[in-house]
């Protein structure tokens, strides 16, 4: 369980006094096995929030607690999937997928076997020796996903993972992710700027407002699981999406 209480983050407070407040008084919880999507206009600090939960950057106030322990850095129960994939361009697919395992000190045989498993899971068998530049964007993010899953995290932190992909690839990977998630039900925090994506994937959608970044609302998505593309036609899906759009449009108008 992820518990965020009164979290505030300011950038540039050390040197030049007047810092930028990126996050103010963030309160929310993500339950075990829950899929929470976070949406908001750019500048609402959603990526900052994710980086804080990942333990990559410090915060100024409040607390971030995972399974009862405050976050003071990255931890073995978490893994991150990055928007720009963050693959090592000099390493082949197998090496990239095995990276997290190697960093965490597994034996070479274990790394290899586990990476091979995950390559199968994301459908990249036969591409083990390819370099990232030889893969399409969608395949690159499959590598990113496999790398995160390989270390078997209980919490998956995804920072607009499909944001850099074209529409068809994005939809394909969304379905893929849903199917994967049904199998293991990991806790997921998923940043997006797509309303369809937020509703399609999330058990709950967290809506944020910008300048400073705050939580506007936590919206439960009343859709059954497992979900397929068909839910997009359901009135529940459309209602939540429409509601999100109203809220976001109001924010844009104010901005």
């Amino acid at each position: 369980m992820i518990r965020v209480r009164g979290l505030s983050k300011e950038f540039g407070t050390l040197d030049n006094g007047g810092g930028v407040q990126a996050l103010r008084d963030i309160d929310f919880e993500v339950n075990d096995n829950e899929f929470v999507t976070i949406i908001g206009p750019s500048g609402c600090g959603k990526t900052t929030l994710l980086r804080i939960i990942a333990g990559l950057i410090p915060y100024n106030q409040g607390e971030v607690i995972i399974d009862g322990r405050p976050v003071i850095g990255p931890g073995p129960e978490r893994a991150v999937v990055f928007q720009n994939f963050a693959l090592m361009p000099w390493a082949d697919v197998l090496t990239n997928v095995a990276f997290g395992l190697e960093i965490r000190g597994r034996t070479p045989e274990e790394c290899r076997a586990k990476a091979q498993d995950l390559i199968k899971v994301v459908g990249l068998v036969g591409f083990e020796k390819r370099l990232p530049k030889e893969l399409s964007g969608g395949m690159q993010q499959r590598v990113g996903l496999a790398r995160a899953l390989a270390v078997n995290p209980r919490i998956l932190l995804m920072d607009e993972p499909f944001g850099a992909l074209d529409e068809q690839t994005r939809r394909l990977l969304q379905e893929e992710l849903l199917r994967l998630w049904e199998q293991e039900r990991k806790t997921v925090v998923f940043i997006t700027h797509s309303m369809e994506e937020a509703v399609m994937l999330g058990d709950r959608v967290m809506l944020m407002t910008p300048r400073p970044g705050r939580v506007k609302e936590m919206i439960a998505v009343p859709l059954q699981r497992p979900r397929s593309r068909d839910v997009e036609k359901s009135s529940a899906f459309v209602d939540v999406k429409e509601y999100l759009w109203e809220q976001l449009r109001a924010m844009q108008a104010a901005a």
Partner: protein
């Protein structure tokens, strides 16, 4: 859960095999074209050289054929040339290796750590713009006429270029990669070994190539200017005796050696940085 690529992939593979074949043919053709063009440039240069000689009536300048025969005699009948080459190469090779061991770590430090860059930056600037040649007499007074002085000059000529390139390479390593490594709990040592150094490798090689060119310049210059030894001494002797064919031949021999070293380095670079976009200079 695996994707339905099974059948699709085999088709894609067949297609790509096809394409590789076509690409290989195209590559062969373009290599032939390259060499054709290079040869034409060479012929034009040689012809202009001969025409210029015919027009200038300057009998001190050797004809192309004389240079060629000079080179032949130098390489096969002039034992002193090989001796001189050996002596000069001591300064060159050792000096270049010292430059590497000095330049790469300094560049890595300056690229990764702000404080190191702040400390080093003014000195790097000075070394980049400083004309080294006027310092040669002082270095020789300080270190004598031996190998030490020659090494020092070679290092002074080359290492800072390796440092600057290495630093740029480290800076260009995507910060998201470092963040990714951190997200898996990588230690600083792991970040260096797995991310920073591999990421900076292409730029380090570029720096090595520039550094090698500079090292060769430094080697010849110090030998010509004050320490009459090695190839410099040979050059001075030849020009003293007005054997201009040998002078040219010696210069060409130095160029050939430099090109061979560069080619060896490039071959190594290609093996190591198969992944990088082609940015080779020189």
């Amino acid at each position: 859960m695996a994707f339905a690529h099974g059948s699709r992939r085999s088709k894609v593979q067949k297609k790509s095999v096809h394409r590789t074949g076509a690409r290989r043919n195209r590559m062969k053709r373009s290599i032939a074209l390259d060499w054709g063009l290079r040869l034409s440039v060479f012929i034009v240069a040689v012809a202009s050289w001969e025409l210029f000689l015919g027009a200038s009536q300057n009998f001190l300048l050797p004809r192309f054929t004389e240079i060629a025969s000079g080179l032949f005699r130098l390489l096969f009948f002039e034992a002193r040339f090989w001796e001189a080459l050996y002596i000069s190469n001591q300064a060159l090779i050792f000096g270049f290796v010292i430059s590497l061991f000095l330049g790469v770590p300094l560049g890595l430090l300056a690229g990764r750590f702000r404080w190191a860059d702040r400390v080093l930056n003014p000195y790097v600037g000075v070394l980049l713009v400083m004309p080294v040649a006027p310092l040669i007499p002082i270095v020789i007074i300080a270190l004598g006429l031996g190998l030490a002085a020659r090494l020092f000059i070679v290092v002074l000529f080359s290492f800072v270029f390796i440092t600057v390139n290495t630093r740029a390479g480290v800076r260009n390593v995507e910060s998201s990669l470092i963040e990714m490594a951190k997200s898996f709990g990588a230690s600083e040592a792991q970040i260096w070994r797995r991310i920073v150094i591999p990421g900076a490798t292409p730029a380090i090689f570029a720096g090595m190539r520039i550094g090698l060119g500079r090292a060769i310049t430094g080697m010849v210059m110090v030998e010509l200017l004050l320490v009459a030894s090695g190839l410099g001494r040979l050059l001075l002797e030849f020009s003293g005796r007005m054997q201009s064919d040998f002078v040219f031949a010696t210069v060409i021999a130095v160029i050939i050696e430099a090109l061979a070293l560069l080619a060896a380095m490039q071959a190594l670079e290609k093996r190591v940085t198969r992944w990088a976009p082609d940015v080779s200079i020189g």
